[in-house]
């Protein structure tokens, strides 16, 4: 048997069900792995060993009574922007460094209900603002495939941890690519569900009309299992969709014959690396071999406006959401003054990092009197055009396939001083959030031992189609089985 921490969740579930292993053994093995590689990777902000062992023992007791769910007793890591009751939730920010949530996010409640084992919280770009996890106020996370490179972001800690077997799976959040881009950079599977499919209650808000929680896993089967567990309507989130959830594992059939897949040409962007492009082409050829009908001539001309739309709307929403950090109710609070305004200004000055400040400034400007129509309202209108364009494409195609990122993971420090270059690295992932559609990123190959991911986009609530295509591709390839040299 391979090392327990290397198992996928569904493999571990099988062994737990057959009573060949216990959750305690599995959890101990995972914590040992964490202990061994974490000093190199810095994927976690908080590791919850004692509580993890307690949760594992409880899960074992529960299973002894004959209850078992596919995630029972299986170790998980949660991105540190999802509230965990009594367990520090920092958003990788100084301003929330000591924040102890009084409640669990709905996704955490759902995992606890099936006796999952929450072993800790993962590092991220502060408030999920970034594409490299370098914007963490605590430390940057390293890419397990090359420690000199970024794991992507903002869910870089979650993707790194899954790739390095520090956990069996993790949760991430995706506002402009924050699940998919790091998944692609780390050779794991990442799904951004349809906006509203997974409850955002207890997810610290960044850009409320774009944020969505999703799974980061070692394979497509695990992705379906985690989605099964976290999806669904939540009365505590008025933007969650009140439709029943299908059993996503039913979509895991290796048959994509006659599915219509479009390849939008606008995603062959300037700056796309030739070797990375070659991987996309061979992945598409593979899908064709498997029976899909490929159309190479799809055009989505509004794609080129997506980045500008995003970097107006997301900072605008963020500037409103982050106004709550006034040093009164929770979080860091500047005390050395009796003046209310000064206390508020200094609280934010010392509590927020530079990228968060930059986005608050950008958003406040876009929303301010005299500029609202030219920036915010204009961006909302172009957002409509981007959505319509996707709607039209999905009348003809079951899915669209593109690269997750036009390059391999970049070097730590390479883009941090140039925010515009950093923003450009999200060029393939951002349109998806603007339209609110679901998209999965899966491993598709390597360039010089650095992973490359492709993403499969679909119309709203088409997660089953995406999982089916991803599963068929995964069955025909073995990229997802490669492990980083650690």
């Amino acid at each position: 048997m391979s090392k327990l921490c290397e198992l996928t969740a569904h493999e571990a579930h099988q062994l737990l069900k057959e009573r060949k292993i216990s959750s305690l053994e599995l959890t101990k093995a995972t914590l040992m792995r964490l202990d061994k590689v974490e000093t190199k990777l810095h994927a976690c902000v908080t590791i919850n060993s004692e509580s993890a062992l307690r949760q594992a023992a409880e899960a074992d007791k529960y299973m002894k009574k004959g209850y078992i769910h596919p995630l029972t007793g299986i170790p998980a890591l949660i991105k540190d922007n999802m509230c965990t009751k009594g367990l520090r939730t920092t958003c990788s920010s100084k301003i929330l460094e000591n924040f102890l949530p009084p409640y669990d996010a709905t996704v955490v409640t759902k995992l606890k209900a099936v006796k999952a084992v929450i072993i800790g919280k993962t590092n991220m770009d502060e408030f999920a603002m970034g594409s490299s996890t370098e914007n963490s106020a605590f430390f940057p996370t390293k890419n397990p495939w090359d420690l000199a490179r970024v794991p992507g972001g903002s869910s870089g800690g979650s993707a790194t941890a899954v790739a390095a077997d520090e956990t069996l799976y993790a949760l991430g959040s995706d506002t402009g690519g924050s699940i998919r881009q790091p998944a692609g950079f780390c050779n794991v599977v990442g799904l951004k569900p349809t906006y509203g499919r997974v409850s955002r209650f207890g997810l610290v808000a960044f850009a409320s009309s774009l944020d969505q929680i999703g799974p980061i896993t070692k394979d497509v089967t695990d992705c379906a299992l985690v989605l099964n567990t976290i999806a669904g309507y939540d009365p505590k989130d008025s933007t969650s969709i009140p439709y029943p959830i299908p059993d996503y594992t039913k979509a895991l059939v290796s048959d994509i014959k006659n599915l219509r897949i479009g390849i939008p040409k606008e995603y062959f962007v300037e700056g796309m690396q030739a070797e990375v492009r070659a991987i996309l082409i061979s992945a598409i050829n593979k899908l064709q071999e498997l029976g899909a009908k490929i159309d190479w001539e799809v055009s989505l001309p509004y794609t080129k406006y997506a980045l500008a739309v995003y970097y107006i709307l997301a900072p605008s929403e963020a500037s409103a959401n982050l106004a709550r950090y006034d040093g009164v109710k929770y979080g860091f609070s500047y005390q050395e003054t009796s003046n209310m305004w000064e206390a508020m200004e200094k609280t934010k000055q010392f509590g927020f990092g530079v990228e968060v400040k930059r986005r608050i400034m950008l958003g406040t400007y876009a929303l301010s009197a005299g500029y609202y129509d030219a920036y915010y309202l204009k961006a909302q209108k172009v957002r409509t055009l981007i959505r319509w364009e996707f709607d039209k494409a999905f009348e003809k195609y079951d899915a669209l396939v593109t690269l997750t990122s036009p390059t391999v993971p970049f070097k730590i420090g390479e883009k941090i001083e140039d925010p515009l270059q950093m923003y450009l690295s999200d060029v393939c992932t951002i349109p998806v959030n603007i339209a609110g559609i679901p998209t999965i990123s899966i491993p598709a190959g390597f360039v010089d031992n650095l992973p490359v991911g492709i993403q499969i986009m679909g119309k709203p609530l088409s997660e089953e189609t995406l999982l089916r295509i991803a599963f068929a591709y995964e069955q025909a390839t073995d990229w997802h089985k490669r492990k980083p040299p650690l």
Binding site: Y103, I312, L362, Y365, L377, R387, Y423, G436, P460
Partner: protein, 97 residues
């Protein structure tokens, strides 16, 4: 579009965000660059296009007005830096003249 120093300071004031001298200078340049890139949106004809505020077709989500158990004052106040008599304590908003 080039932002002036005064504009940067004005935005910071609107956001009640304290900035250092170095940050003001840096943001003046960086925000100007970023905003210049957004000019591309002015090329798009959006006549008669409604704005998208959210992507799902739900509106006016209501629930029954029933009372439920909530959090105790202690739980809600547990993370606050200043408190008194089960209340958040804030600095004076109106100064005595």
């Amino acid at each position: 579009m080039k932002l002036s120093r005064q504009q940067v300071q004005h935005i910071a004031l609107l956001a009640r965000l304290g900035l250092t001298e170095a940050e003001i200078e840096k943001f003046q340049l960086q925000l100007s660059n970023i905003l210049e890139n957004f000019e591309i949106l002015q090329q798009v004809d959006t006549t008669n296009v409604p704005p998208t505020t959210q992507v799902i077709s739900l509106s006016n989500v209501f629930r029954e007005d029933i009372t439920e158990d909530s959090y105790s004052p202690e739980e809600i106040l547990a993370n606050s830096p200043l408190q008194e008599d089960n209340c958040f304590k804030v600095r004076a908003v109106l100064e005595e003249s």
